[in-house]
Structures are given as C-alpha cells and as structure tokens.
Symmetry: C2
Subunit: 294 residues, 2 copies
Amino acid sequence: MNLNEYLSDRRAMIDSALNKFLPSIDARPQRLHEAIRYSVLAPGKRLRPILALASAEAVNGNCELVLPTACALECIHVFSLIHDDLPCMDDDDYRRGRLTNHKVYGEAMAMLAGDALLTLAFELIADNVATVAPDRVVMALKMISNATGTWGMVGGQVIDIESEGKSIEFETLKYIHAHKTGALLTASSVAGALLVGGDDDQIEALTQYGKSIGLAFQIADDILDIIGDQDKIGKPVGSDEGNDKATYPKFFGLDGSRQMAHNEVQNALDAIANLSHAADPLRAIAGYIVDREL
Amino acid sequence: MNLNEYLSDRRAMIDSALNKFLPSIDARPQRLHEAIRYSVLAPGKRLRPILALASAEAVNGNCELVLPTACALECIHVFSLIHDDLPCMDDDDYRRGRLTNHKVYGEAMAMLAGDALLTLAFELIADNVATVAPDRVVMALKMISNATGTWGMVGGQVIDIESEGKSIEFETLKYIHAHKTGALLTASSVAGALLVGGDDDQIEALTQYGKSIGLAFQIADDILDIIGDQDKIGKPVGSDEGNDKATYPKFFGLDGSRQMAHNEVQNALDAIANLSHAADPLRAIAGYIVDREL
C-alpha cells in the first residue's frame, strides 16, 4: 500500500467531517466558534482520528461509520493543546507556526474553547449512535473518557507539571509518557474496531498495538526534541545541563532510544500479526510514527 | 411530603455516591484528586443531582439506578465553578466561605481539576450502563453534553463575559440565563426519567418543567444579588448606577421580578400536572427554588 496516499486521503476525510461537525461561525456565540475552528482546523497530522478509521478497517469494518468518534478524538487532542498552551500551563505563544489560541482570542475564550471542545467530543460520540449500536457507543465512551481524564491524559499532564525541574525516576517518565500521550493514542487505535463490533481478541491485540505505538511515538518525540535543539543551538547533545527535562535519551542515549522506539514498532506489529491484510494501514502507520522524524 | 427531610435524605445519598465515584487521594496523581475532592465535596445544595433522582422517581423509576448520572451532573456543575473562579475569568478568591480551588492548589491544578471533572462526568454516564439500557445512556449522554457545551452552559458563559460592562437587550439576558444555568437544570430535570425509560410525553413535560424552574432559579438569584447588596451597602435598590450587570430586576423591578419567578414556578407545576403523585418531590422542589431566598 501507498501510505502517503492513504494518509492524505484519510486526512481529507477527517478535515471535511470536522468542518461539518464543528459549530458554525454563524451560530451564537460566534467568537467561541471562531476560536474553536482556529485551533481544530489548523493543519495537523490527524494521527488520532486516522488511527480510529484504520482500526475500524483492520477488523473489516466500514471506516465511515466511525467518523464522529474519530473527530471526537481530534477534538480531545486539540482541547489539550489549547489548555496546555495557556499562561498558567506552558505559556506558549506559537504552535505550528501560528499564534496560540489565547494569543488571538484571550485567555478566557481559549479556556472556554477548550471546555467546549472537550464537551463536543462526547456529544460527537453520542451522535455516533446513528451508525453504530448503542452498547458499542457506550463502550467507546467509557474507554475514551477513561483515557482522557485523570486515569489518562490529564493525569499524565499533572505528573508532568509536578516533575518540572526535578530529577525523576525512569518509572515516572514512563508514567508520564503512557498517560499524557499514550492513553489517547491507544484509545484511538481501539475505538474504531470497538465501534464496528470487533471481538475480544481483536480489541486486545489493538490495545497492545496502541500501547506500543504510543510509546514509540513519545520516544520519537523525545529524540526529535534533542535533534531539533542540537540543530538550533549548534552544540552536542548531552552538554546542555540547563535542560533538565527527563527524556528517553537522557536515560538511554540517542542510539539506545532509537533502538527502543524501533523495538516498540516491532511489538506493535507482533501484536496485530493475527489480523488480516485489512490491518495493513495500521502496520504502515506503526512504521511511519518512528520514521517521520528519526 | 416533608421537603426538608426529602432534600436532606437525597443529599446524603448523593454525597455518599460522590465520595465513592470520585478518584481516591491514595491514587496517582494524588494532588489532583485532592483538588477535585476539595471542590466537589464542599457542602452544597446538590440541586442538579437531586433533580435527576426526583425525575426518575416522577415516572415511577428507582432513583438509585440513575445515581452515576446524577453525580455526573454535579461534577459538571463543579467543573464550571472551578473554571469560572480562575483569574482569567471572574478571579474569585472565595466560594461558599472557603478559598477557591486555584487559591489552594494553584491555577494549573485548578484548570486540570476542572478538565478532569468534566471528563469524569462522561465516564460516570458511561458507567450508568450497569443499571440502565445502553440506548437510554446514549440519549442521556447526548442531552447532557448538549446542555454543557457551546449550545448550553459554556455558550451562555461566553455571552455573559462578552456582555460585561455593556448595556444589553433583554433578549441577551434571556439567552444568558437560559444557557448558563437553565440548560443544565433542564437536563437534570429530564435525565433521570430518560434513563429509567420515561415516554415521550413525560420527557416533554419534564423538559418544560426544567426550563421553567431554570428560569425561576435565575430570576431568584438576580433578586438575591440585589437584596444581598442592599443589606450590605444600605442603600435602596436601583440607585447603584455603578452596578451595570444586567438582571431581571434592572428590567422589571424587584416586585415585577418576584412575580415573574412565581409565574415560572406555576408554569413548571402546570407542565407536570399529568404526572402522578410520584412527581410530588419535583413539585415541592419547584416551590423551594423560589422560596429558598425570596
């Protein structure tokens, strides 16, 4: 299969659905809807919704049936970016080369745009009952809410903040990675199959797949952070003692980390070895997650 | 019926369920869970969850079946209080005589506690599938998420913020009241009956009931704001030109507003006139909403 064609086709499908599902700027409150659209419709990889579509396909389901939940996963991701960028959090002015939401719309509106997006995500999951049996919708709701809140993304973010400027154990770094980014990537990898009726073995295989690509993704990000810094500041990796952020390369070096990321990709492939060729997009995405930047 | 006994019994039932459903302070991240419990378990009227229980009873359902969703409604309410109190919003230091969440736990933790609570609410709704049919759970999810996000509470909050310091039309004041507080009170009045299998006529009656008590509640709050101010500052109502916040009394005077609140209570009673004596708690609550403070 041609992965680039696949990704670009699926991205177009998601972008079109997002545009349809997001509140219109003609509806009140207009400025809130502008703020929501500004951040959600900014160009992005759409990794989470694409995983959800590929997950439905992997068990021979029709991926279009799960579009509302796929878009919900992107809404949750963007909600987390908007809140993370706020002054009381990371205080970032730019994201993907554009001003962050609060720099354009103000802090109050940015916070409320995040709140509205998180809520919209759950409304979209409810709307998926138009194409999917309600017991499966509730299972997806349970899994996605669990991966988003204190047992997942938000919990990981809290431990990340609490760890800033501290020397942390590897166990804590693993916790942060598994929760802050891993949980929602895993939920995305499972949600599609769950909605179209995947059986227990398939769900278990996709859960393992999701955990492995989630970890590979985060190790790759850690590596990119350092390679990016090195390019920018022109000094060798490891000499920057001021950067006390715990990362995989800090614990295992660059080469060790690269190896671990590739091992996780292999684990992901092994986990779904019993799935048919319908899972080939998921297989290709596993490799892409590491190769995109290493 | 003895309303005070009823309310105190139901409050105890809710508080005990909340204590069970909220994440333990022994679980990681502990400080987030402390922050969540600090705000949710502060003494409160528990009006929204009590309405949900009474709504289930009103159609002869067992109110204990809907406890997870009833608690979800309280989580959504408290999430909105925590975020509203933040410096980028109302910047309040105290609520109910205690320091606000961010004054105790910091802004980042307060924002994340709100995010986690909003997410937990939807997880609790999903958990309600243990006692309620999944199609009804999805219907409740749809209704509650719609009442919470941009089409409800968050949307009303945005228009409220945008109206600060401006002279607004009565139509805008109605929009703010109906969305910021009315939508979630209406959803609470309907959710219980919806979950236990209420029919279309019952749902429609309870929706009208909810809209009327929601409006009565807000008019009563507007009146209390002014009576409270008057007691405190010792000058007649209406002389305070510095207070440019739009309220019902600004448009209709104190007596006119009182009359409108009582009319809405009557509308609420009329709406559920066809329900049996099982709806008596809802009838008593309608009166209580206005009498509690006028």
